[in-house]
């Protein structure tokens, strides 16, 4: 956290076509370092779209994308204060590049490891550096970075929650006391997609009353256990946050409008100890920014005021053309939440950090524009 104000990073770039539940753009805020993952370049071309990482330790954003590996597949930020980055495989590669980080900067050479699942929570680190990862194909592994042992696989996880009919497992986090929680996607209604490990090591599915087939969008390890952001499929689409401590406590759900989709998610811990998820919802228009919190008590989702940033061509909340100014959705409780929300306006190789004003009405410049030397076509 930065003092009393929790920093949440929202990198929004919406032209990137991503499957539901796999918003690879977003951010995470730790006690010392905030990290954002932003898609840049030609966003509609998988060959010329490069994910970039920006880190902030003292209030200024700086580029911290690791060298030597193509980032077309996405970047996963792992661990408290982003202790490691995982560059997901893309194109013909089946290998994930893992990069240790220190104070928001790449530290030392990377190592290659088995392919992680394509989700923003497919790698987690605890304070001791122990890692847990969800691999492609649904295998869950644990150990030091790159030297893993299998903990579970999709079949065993699916057996633990037969009602869910688990289709995939793409997220994992520590849930306290050495237990893990796995996030996946259910094919059947009434299940959240969360598979929680019990004290005895056994797995069990978490139900979600009123949810159509659930899928986990993000997981975070927290002091109180873990927190999850879950989406419900079907016609009545909604998202909700869950606190996974000794018991599961759900926030009130946020109903998604027709045509809306999740563009980016940022997660952070509030001063109160609650987990906050800032979600950018895109709909082809102005879109919305919502905050859902998870903790011991039940909470309501909040809609922040400014739908999109002026001049943000890659913002997921609406097209750039015709943007005369920030569109105000409605006054929001940004200040009362004690968080700051930041986004990145992306135009090709130009990236402008922005911060939502305290009253939630305007996007303000938050540091100098970064001009990237994008290697267009370099990965093809």
């Amino acid at each position: 956290m930065r003092g009393r104000v929790g920093l949440l990073v929202m990198a929004v770039a919406a032209l990137v076509a991503q499957p539901a539940g796999a918003a690879l753009e977003g951010g995470t805020a730790g006690s010392d370092v905030a990290t954002a993952v932003v898609a840049t370049g030609r966003l509609t071309s998988i060959e010329d779209r490069f994910f970039q990482t920006f880190s902030s330790t003292g209030g200024e954003w700086r580029l911290s994308t690791p060298a030597g590996v193509a980032t077309n597949g996405g970047i996963v930020v792992a661990g408290p204060d982003a202790a490691a980055l995982a560059v997901l495989p893309s194109f013909a590669s089946h290998v994930t590049a893992l990069v240790p980080m220190q104070a928001g900067r790449p530290a030392g050479r990377g190592i290659a490891a088995a392919a992680l699942a394509a989700g923003p929570s497919s790698l987690a680190l605890d304070a001791s550096g122990q890692a847990v990862a969800a691999l492609r194909g649904g295998q869950i592994v644990r150990g030091r970075l790159g030297a893993w042992r299998a903990v579970a696989d999709l079949r065993s996880l699916a057996r633990s929650a037969p009602g869910c009919d688990l289709a995939s497992a793409e997220a994992v986090a520590e849930a306290g006391d050495g237990r893990l929680v796995v996030g996946g996607r259910c094919r059947r209604a009434g299940w959240s997609g969360l598979i929680l490990q019990g004290a005895g090591g056994q797995w069990g599915g978490v139900r979600a009353r009123g949810f159509a087939a659930g899928s986990v969008l993000m997981l975070r390890s927290e002091a109180h256990g873990a927190a999850a952001l879950v989406a419900s499929g079907g016609r009545d689409r909604r998202i909700a946050a869950a606190s996974l401590g000794r018991s599961v406590r759900w926030s009130r759900p946020l109903r998604m409008r027709a045509g809306e989709r999740v563009c980016s998610i940022a997660g952070g811990t509030l001063a109160t100890g609650r987990t906050a998820f800032v979600v950018a919802l895109c709909d082809g228009g102005a879109g919305r920014v919502a905050v859902l919190t998870a903790g011991p008590s039940r909470s309501r989702p909040a809609i922040l005021a400014a739908g999109r940033a002026k001049g943000a061509t890659a913002v997921g909340l609406g097209p750039a053309a015709g943007a005369a100014g920030d569109r105000i959705v409605r006054s929001g409780p940004l200040a009362s939440l004690g968080i700051s929300v930041e986004s990145f306006a992306v135009e090709g190789r130009r990236v402008r950090p922005l911060r939502l004003s305290a009253d939630g009405r305007r996007w303000l410049a938050d540091g100098a524009e970064v001009v990237l030397s994008l290697p267009y076509g370099s990965s093809s």
Partner: protein, 573 residues
């Protein structure tokens, strides 16, 4: 990261292989064709000569004219660029915007061609030359009809698989741009020849349908000039005539032709709309005259049509052969032949020509031509059914294999198991040396699979070592090598040594082998050259080339690379 370029149309090595194949096939043709001709000649002497026939003039014109066009097409197939160029520069562009089913069909045929390009190219040479000679030589009777039937069948294949229905789905589809495709006109002419016995028709009414059909086709062509999406009625920079001539002028061709195209590109900016009006009027009036069977009008109008077609052929179609990879003389000569023959048919009302006894050379020559068609057809059938791919596509991508001599620079690095491995310790094995990046996302994984396939093709020999030197200084631990090997499913491949080392060690090896490695920006991988070296049993350099691969090891380029690696290893053993 790849250093791969596209397929080069003119590769000296592919050309040399093409010429060599043609030489062997010619020798075979002389032997078998000569034998067939001799047998037919001997049989002819023992049997009664065929009766004299009165071939109608229109049929004679079509037969000789299209026979000559087939011969010209066959000669054009001898171009060095044809093995690679036909599929890449001629066939694929015709279906670039075609419906999926047609693009898939033509793409499959183009892939098959590229797997065995020399077989395909030489096969077409013999088929087209054979068809041309057979049409010219076989004047009457079943040999003539058989030649025309074969001509029609081959034209139909070319129409669909070689030109995507004459470029029907490539805008603008218009008469002056070659619609409906030369092969469609060859097909029509061949059908007309095949339907005639070489005698005046028993039912003249049927014979009248040909000119009427041609008239309707010309009216349809006039409609393409009016309704085409091209700017035929526009002047200035929007003129389609000017744009086409301008493009033609850019192609490599004799200087006088380029000068003519440049002049026309400039002149047509002002007179383009007028030119199109003239073309539409000539097409429409000729079409109406053919439908009306007006011999008197056609007698004058046909020469206007010939003049118009000749002008289009020269100014817009660049004579069909002056630039690019030409496979035929384009559509205008075929249109002219059809209009002149139809005019003859109307004038003569189906009457036969002078009754002539068949010359004794005709059937032996036609027999030899039939052997040529059969041989070429067999070669083309091989393209369709033979598995795998020859090394030709890989040679076209890599620019050829460069022979080397002298000792291979030595190195000692660490393999994926953590053991130190030197080049010297691998003697007396043949070494296949490549440079791979363990976190490369594009071609390194594919190339590793291609090398594995090459090893399997060779029977996983124990006297060959496959050595990959790490090309990424940021991911240089043996664990990274292992991760790559595991991810690619290569853990059981004992002949593979993925070597790595300190940045200093790696840079020295890159330098010794002339491999450039550079960082290309945030989010981008290490850019590295992709040479492959073959090192002989005694540690001497044997050959090198640039690896290039396709989208997958199973692609044409991938299979071709596999063949090339296997062939070079075999040469080094």
């Amino acid at each position: 990261m790849s250093g791969m370029g596209g397929l080069r149309l003119r590769s000296p090595e592919v050309t040399a292989r093409f010429v060599s194949a043609l030489g062997y096939e010619l020798a075979l043709l002389v032997l078998l064709g000569g034998l067939a001709a001799l047998v037919v000649w001997l049989l002819q002497r023992r049997t009664a000569p065929p009766p004299a026939s009165a071939e109608p003039p229109w049929r004679r014109s079509l037969r000789l004219g299209f026979g000559a066009l087939w011969v010209a097409a066959g000669l054009l197939q001898l171009q060095p660029a044809m093995p690679i160029g036909l599929s890449e520069s001629v066939v694929r562009p015709t279906v670039a915007s075609a419906p999926t089913w047609l693009a898939g069909l033509v793409g499959t045929a183009a892939d098959a061609w590229l797997r065995h390009p020399i077989l395909g190219a030489s096969g077409v040479v013999w088929v087209e030359l054979g068809l041309g000679v057979a049409l010219i030589a076989a004047r009457s009777g079943w040999p003539s009809r058989a030649a025309a039937t074969a001509s029609a069948a081959f034209a139909a294949v070319v129409l669909v698989l070689g030109s995507g229905f004459g470029g029907l789905f490539v805008a603008p589809y218009a008469f002056v741009f070659g619609a409906p495709g030369a092969s469609a006109l060859y097909l029509a002419a061949s059908v007309a020849i095949a339907m005639s016995t070489g005698e005046p028709p028993a039912r003249p009414r049927w014979g009248r349908l040909g000119p009427i059909g041609l008239g309707v086709a010309l009216l349809a062509m006039a409609a393409t000039q009016v309704a085409s999406t091209g700017g035929f009625f526009e002047g200035g920079d929007s003129s389609s005539f000017s744009a086409m001539a301008g493009e033609m002028a850019q192609l490599a061709q004799p200087a006088p032709m380029a000068a003519i195209e440049r002049w026309f590109a400039s002149a047509s900016k002002g007179i383009g709309p007028l030119l199109n009006i003239v073309i539409v009027i000539v097409l429409s009036s000729t079409g109406v005259a053919l439908i009306a069977r007006s011999g008197a009008i056609l007698r004058r109008l046909r020469w206007v049509f010939v003049a118009m077609a000749a002008s289009v052929w020269l100014l817009v179609q660049d004579l069909g052969v002056a630039g690019g990879v030409a496979t035929d003389l384009n559509s205008m000569p075929a249109w002219v032949l059809l209009v002149l023959a139809a005019s003859q048919a109307i004038e003569g009302d189906g009457a036969g020509g002078p009754r002539v006894v068949e010359a004794s050379w005709r059937r032996p020559v036609a027999s030899a031509a039939a052997v040529s068609v059969l041989m070429g057809g067999s070669l083309m059938l091989g393209v369709a059914v033979l598995p795998g791919a020859t090394a030709d596509a890989a040679l076209a991508i890599s620019g050829g294999v460069r022979p080397l001599s002298g000792p291979a620079p030595g190195f000692t690095l660490t393999d994926q198991r953590g053991r130190r491995v030197s080049l010297g310790s691998l003697r007396p094995k043949v070494v296949v040396l490549v440079f791979l990046d363990p976190v490369c996302t594009s071609e390194c994984p594919i190339q590793a699979q291609e090398l594995r396939l090459a090893a399997r093709r060779m029977g996983s020999p124990t006297d060959v070592a496959f050595v990959a030197v790490n090309a990424n200084p940021h991911y240089s631990s043996p664990a990274s090598s292992r991760a790559f090997i595991d991810a690619e499913g290569l853990a059981g491949w004992r002949q593979l040594h993925f070597l790595t080392g300190s940045a200093t060690e790696l840079r020295r090896v890159w330098s010794d082998y002339g491999v450039s490695v550079s960082r290309i920006g945030p989010g981008g991988m290490e850019l590295h050259a992709e040479p492959i070296f073959i090192i002989g049993r005694e540690g001497q350099l044997v050959s090198t080339w640039q690896l290039g691969s396709g989208e997958s090891p199973g692609s044409v380029e991938g299979q071709s690379t596999v063949s090339q690696v296997a062939a070079e290893v075999e040469r080094a053993r």
